[in-house]
Subunit: 396 residues, 2 copies
């Protein structure tokens, strides 16, 4: 079995085999080729990369300005809430755009590292990772809660009003989320239904607390000297990209190809044959084993998700930042996002079941919910396998 | 949507459409045709049916004799246990053969009713159904427990010695099953593992109790005057089949075709498009709704299972009782057996979770187990859809 890559920085051994894939690594996207060729021919190659990085840095600064205008990052204006114009949802959009640009800059610094000033690049990447991680946590808690409440609603029978999903309102920049008892309990029809209602209330309490903490952390981060230093660095990047001497006359494509090879090697190491066999029941194996969270079997899939993103950003950089999205990559990425979300939701349900002194009916509902989300994990792997192998055969 | 058939006795409206199937009703098996044609041509058609019924009656009597020889049905010899020569497993095999023959006789009386003496047939069928139902219950409890303990073992991680499946030993004719504490508890590694161990012990206790009751009921049934009356009727059937006057010159095939049409109509009413879409998550819908057992959505599938069996027996009768098994029918039948078993196991887990005063960890494990078995239900539907639609396309 090929070695797995716990960190995108690890460059896998060249020439790894592809035992699970019937497809060769995809050729460069046809849309990208005509654009990158003339640009790489007509302008210095470093300029293509510099142009992409400058565009992302500009986007970062635009999102940051929008975020400040909508009240984000200003604890004094914490009164700006969901629903108010320019309130939480504007700040939420801005925070998402900030993270989006930060990920692209960070990914490009990684993939094209030999072409960039090494000291600058090595200093900036962890700071960008810290920023996008910190800003993403609140949204992750919110999305996880919504996913779990929707699943409980589905499992409780159609039309049950027990768990209206809370509106996805708060984001960095909004006021502290409402931590009050928001779950309406359904009429007691049986102790299992009561269990589902109680499980929903418990998850709401725990994940809202986690979201509140993430919110505070994000606000602190946005007001910190560390953040201002990152923002200053990005502002410099928007006007001048510190290229390495090696960038003159270099070709971006071998580095982009290396990123793609890291991806295909990692995919080759995935158990895709099993994943392509529906209802293989692998995701719930060890579902009752001690400490089921995080699931070790999920890690290689999470890693592929990161490598797929790096591959996509590298294609974007080659295409001058305007590369049309490849449908296959998009579907594969969505499947891996779903995998990650379901994995984390399942872990949250298992974690909630460890709360002391809960009622048996609550614990039962959390057990059903945990298994449901682990099957979502399995379904996401199947979806990934299907989308990834779709290329070589004609579309149905 | 075509009407569903809660009872195989209901003859569905002719000409129901097949919206979910891309296949026409399968033609009579090629193996059956050459056999049934000469026989139906060369001998009176009633003789083909009479021959089949006589053969099944003879098999019934043979199984009954074997059952008595191995100690079955003799409460005074309750000391005959699993492992002893001629003990439980011999009696178990004999009980299975008894049920097998009883089902075939009963099914043929139903399918070919117009060709048989109506009063005799209508009197005998419910008695045979009572017998095979009573004899099957103990085995069902045993198989259900084994399925659930194996699932718990799988969910608790590889190699855990917590739930060695109990040997399938006891059957009608063996002594009362051991109701002692047979589950070995795994070392306490976490409260979830403890929960799995406790859930296993609880299920073992409840299903062993149910099995013991079923065992007693079966023993009583086999010693009853009611049973002796059935056995006497079967003994008469082994030598003389009471045909109706209409049987002279009649053709078996239209009645067999009608049985097949009842099957294909019922299958057409199944949600096969959904079932063929892996991970559709339908089986666990309402998993936390009040009173999840029995699941109403399972009923049409159970009904198809019965109709498939009737179709298979009708084919057997046409083929002179020696019709080679159609692989597709076999696979479809196995999928429906798996569906039924998983459905009942899931209900048993949900039922156990309603036991008062269980620990939250136990309830959590039962919730995971319930969801796992409901996914088995969904997997079985997928397997049925795959096997049923396999005919029209060339094998991959």
């Amino acid at each position: 079995m090929a070695q797995r890559h716990p960190d995108p920085t690890d460059v896998p051994t060249a020439g790894a085999s592809f035992p699970h894939l019937t497809t060769a690594p995809p050729p460069p996207a046809p849309q990208a080729a005509p654009k990158s060729d003339p640009e790489q021919g007509g302008t210095p190659v470093g300029d293509v990369l510099a142009g992409y990085l400058r565009a992302q840095a500009t986007e970062f600064l635009r999102a940051l300005r929008l975020h400040r205008e909508t009240g984000g990052g200003l604890p004094a204006r914490a009164g700006a809430r969901a629903g108010e114009p320019g309130g939480a949802s504007g700040a939420g959009d801005a925070a998402r755009a900030l993270r989006r640009a930060a990920r692209r800059i960070s990914g490009s610094l990684h993939t094209f590292r030999p072409l960039l000033d090494a000291d600058w690049s090595d200093e900036m990447r962890p700071e960008l990772a810290w920023l996008s991680g910190t800003l993403g946590l609140e949204h992750a808690c919110e999305a996880r809660l919504e996913r779990l409440l929707l699943a409980l609603q589905r499992l409780s029978g159609a039309g049950a009003a027990a768990f209206p999903p809370q509106p996805v309102s708060s984001a960095v920049g909004a006021g502290a989320p409402d931590t009050g008892p928001a779950v309406r309990t359904a009429p007691d029809r049986s102790n299992l239904t009561v269990g589902a209602a109680k499980a929903g209330a418990l998850l709401e309490r725990q994940l809202t607390l986690a979201r509140t903490r993430a919110h505070s952390t994000a606000l602190q981060a946005l007001g910190s000297a560390r953040f201002h230093a990152v923002a200053d660095q990005v502002a410099v990047l928007a006007s001048e990209v510190p290229l390495a001497p090696a960038a003159a006359g270099a070709d971006l494509r071998p580095l982009a190809t290396a990123a793609e090879e890291r991806l295909t090697d990692a995919i080759a190491a995935l158990p895709l044959v099993t994943a392509g066999h529906p209802y293989n029941a692998v995701a719930l194996v060890h579902g009752l084993a001690p400490d089921p969270s995080p699931h070790p079997q999920d890690a290689p899939w999470h890693q592929v998700r990161l490598l797929l993103r790096l591959h996509r950003y590298a294609r974007e950089a080659l295409g001058g930042g305007a590369d049309p999205v490849d449908v296959r990559l998009l579907a594969a990425g969505q499947a891996l996002n779903r995998h990650r979300d379901a994995s984390e939701a399942a872990a949250a349900a298992a974690q909630a079941a460890r709360t002391p002194r809960i009622a048996p009916a609550t614990a039962y509902a959390l057990g059903v919910l945990h298994a449901d989300q682990r099957h979502e994990v399995e379904a996401a792997r199947f979806a990934f396998q299907q989308s990834w192998l779709k290329r070589p055969v004609p579309a149905p």
